[in-house]
């Protein structure tokens, strides 16, 4: 028999627990990516001479595979006496990888703010920090929320890479079930369906978010 | 046999959702006739041309070209909506020049003029080039034939667009405000080409224009559109000289006022 429903239901609770690990990794990884990305983008504006260094750094991170970066962090930290568990090392790598992408999104958001906004703030004698916090960020962030949302979904779909360092997320759990029972069909397909469902739902959410934002800016 | 009109709109309506843009339009255009369409913005002038070019579908009525239905075809003695093959057969008689030129930006003036003759009419390259060279000469752009659209002024681009449309040897040419996107000093050269086309080629022409002087001097008949209907039509000296309809008078007054 190609598909065994009883077996599929039997492994569902195990996979559900693993899904929670995947989602945790996603949320922590993205929180890291979003905040580190923002820091990179802001530093770039605040301290102009860092621009080139940050560009090269971002290019380096984006040009090399996430899987290698995960391995690197996981195996390299112990060399310096810092032992990270697989989950921490993996999420850190994912967060840093996506921070590089997010920083470019923020940058585009800041670039879209009209120069007049900065000039008006200077004319009002606002400090640069106040300008940033009260004038620039509130205008720059809403339009880029959908782009950030897309990276959140992309990041989520890369969490199976954590299975390479044996984090017990969805893919790793499915693999273990497969190797113990010699049935790969149900666990792998269920994992695929889970990702598909989450992706379709998030795509719909992002679309309605986009509509909402469009309507707001149209006014 | 009495000669068929070149074009006949038979009770044609066009709606966008709840908005009726054209309401039961009836219009006949004779072989070789030059007809200008004037009227306020939004009155449906462009829509008339676009329906005839089959860029828009129609909701009611039938459009005929030389006695054959364009929007429909006969099947078992009844008119049914035309399929693409039928539309393409009849549409071959019609050419159009657009307000925004719509030249192909990745092709030179010459390539713009030979593309459709080769791909659609199946002409040999050499023949298509000879025809295109004649037409580019007619519009006064022989020496610009290897230029890309981005290297030409608006007036030159529009003249290439006219040559390109002529290269398909249409019997009917449609012009939709072809000088509206041009700087004022470039309008004359395009109008001159249209005059020449009218003199030298056996063409039926239907043009939407805001150039009242040109409409008066060039056309055999002027139609004034208002709110999706022909409000008044007639020979140019009558319509411009002694408009019967109050709306026409108001419109002409406003246009002349604006200069």
């Amino acid at each position: 028999m190609i598909w065994d429903w009883a077996f599929a239901f039997e492994i569902l609770p195990v996979l559900a627990r693993a899904a929670i690990v995947s989602i945790e990794a996603t949320l922590i990884g993205f929180a890291l990516a979003a905040s580190l990305g923002l820091v990179l983008a802001v530093v770039r504006i605040a301290v102009p001479w860092t621009g080139w260094t940050i560009s090269v750094l971002v290019e380096l991170i984006r040009s090399t595979p996430l899987l290698i970066q995960i391995f690197f962090l996981y195996f390299v930290f112990p060399k310096f006496g810092v032992v990270l568990d697989a989950f921490t090392a993996g999420v850190l790598a994912i967060g840093i990888h996506y921070a590089a992408y997010c920083s470019e999104v923020y940058r585009a958001g800041f670039d879209n703010i009209h120069r007049g906004q900065w000039e008006a703030s200077i004319a009002l004698n606002l400090s640069s920090w106040t300008t940033f916090r009260d004038i620039i960020i509130p205008q720059a962030i809403p339009p880029i929320v959908p782009a950030l949302g897309n990276y959140l979904v992309a990041l989520f779909k890369e969490t199976p890479l954590l299975s390479a360092i044996a984090v017990l997320e969805l893919m790793q759990t499915a693999k273990i079930i497969g190797s113990e029972t010699f049935r790969y069909t149900e666990p792998t397909t269920l994992v695929g369906l889970f990702f598909l469902a989450m992706s379709l739902v998030s795509a719909a959410l992002i679309r309605s978010l986009e509509r909402l934002l469009n309507r707001r800016t149209m006014r | 046999m009495t000669e068929q009109p070149m074009v006949r709109f038979d009770n044609v309506s066009k709606r966008y959702g709840a908005l009726t843009v054209l309401d039961g339009l009836n219009l006949e255009i004779a072989h070789g006739e030059k007809v200008s369409i004037i009227g306020p913005s939004g009155s449906g002038k462009t829509t008339v041309l676009r329906m005839l070019m089959t860029l828009e579908t129609i909701n009611d009525g039938v459009i005929w070209v030389e006695g054959q239905p364009l929007t429909h075809m006969e099947r078992n003695g009844k008119l049914v909506p035309a399929d693409l093959a039928h539309i393409r057969k009849i549409r071959a008689k019609i050419g159009m020049v657009f307000q925004s030129f719509n030249l192909f930006p990745h092709m030179t003036a010459m390539q713009n003029c030979i593309e459709a003759p080769i791909t659609v009419l199946g002409m040999k390259r050499a023949d298509a080039e000879a025809r295109a060279a004649d037409l580019l000469d007619m519009v006064g752009l022989s020496e610009k034939k290897d230029h890309y659209p981005s290297q030409l002024s608006g007036g030159q681009q529009q003249r290439v667009a006219i040559a390109r449309a002529c290269a398909m040897r249409p019997k009917i040419m449609l012009f939709d405000e072809v000088t509206s996107a041009l700087d004022p000093e470039l309008v004359g050269e395009v109008l001159e080409v249209i005059r020449k086309l009218g003199r030298e080629h056996d063409l039926t022409m239907l043009m939407v224009t805001h150039q009242m002087g040109f409409a008066k001097e060039f056309s055999d008949r002027v139609c004034f559109f208002h709110a999706g209907k022909i409000c008044e039509q007639g020979p140019p000296n009558e319509l411009f000289g002694a408009p019967k309809n109050e709306r026409t008078r108001q419109f002409l007054h406003a246009v002349l006022e604006a200069g």
Binding site: - | M53, L55, R91
Partner: protein, 242 residues
């Protein structure tokens, strides 16, 4: 980043690799890693070709195909975009044989990566086609061209220019995703790295070399796409400055 900077970066990356290759601590790993890199390039090239073909076909099918084809293409795109690349790789490798189709790992790698990126690519192709001005369609209609003639001669050549940068990004993603094939037993660069790391624990030299190699490959791809973009836009923008 400008093309000059990218070339500089590439030269630096290759230079560092060359210098490290002369160091005793590093030279040990070079032959094995290079072997892996060859497999990585093979999979990336074949995967890219498949991705481009699938991207164009799926986009055209979704936009202009008859209903069943449109439906099929939509399902393809949604499934391959909606699930994770690694899940697809595992599914083709472990599950497909249960349905009686056993492909070797290399073929699975090319298929999974090509189909995955092709699904994203179809959106790029679709967007680029839709970005061509409506007037271009209308002018082609007025010249009585058929749908295929319009697409081939007028629309796609213009859409092509708009497609190059996003395709460049997608192919970089594909190149990076080739590292995943190490998880289905293929001895690509990532596999060699991990294998050597387990055997020698010389983590820093090995991963430094590997990261530099991936960087160099990515840069070659990025620079190539930039040059292609420059050439392609030449036809469209000729004399725009004049």
């Amino acid at each position: 980043m400008g093309i000059r900077t990218l070339v500089t970066l590439l030269v630096v990356a290759l230079g560092v690799i060359a210098v490290l290759a002369t160091q005793e601590a590093y030279s040990l790993f070079m032959p094995g890693l290079l072997q892996g890199a060859v497999l990585t390039v093979e999979i990336a090239v074949l995967g890219s070709l498949l991705a481009i073909v699938m991207g164009v076909l799926a986009a055209l099918a979704r936009m202009y195909g008859p209903a069943p084809l449109r439906w099929l293409a939509t399902v393809y795109v949604e499934i391959f975009r909606g699930t994770s690349a690694l899940v697809q790789l595992f599914w083709l490798f472990f599950v497909l044989p249960q349905f009686g189709v056993t492909l070797n790992a290399f073929l699975v790698a090319v298929l999974a990566l090509g189909l995955n990126v092709g699904a994203y690519g179809s959106e790029v192709v679709r967007g680029a086609i839709q970005s061509v001005a409506r007037g271009q369609w209308e002018a082609s209609t007025a010249l009585n061209m058929s749908r295929p003639q319009m697409l081939r001669r007028i629309i796609l050549p213009q859409a092509f220019v708009a497609m190059i940068p996003p395709w460049g990004n997608l192919l970089i993603e594909l190149l990076k995703s080739t590292a995943l094939v190490s998880l289905i037993t293929l001895s690509d660069l990532a596999f060699k790295a991990q294998q050597m790391n387990q055997n020698t624990f010389k983590t820093i030299p090995i991963f430094t070399l590997v990261l530099l190699m991936y960087l160099a490959m990515s840069l070659v791809l990025t620079i190539g796409m930039r040059l292609l973009e420059r050439r392609a836009s030449l036809g469209l923008a000729r004399g725009r400055a004049a």
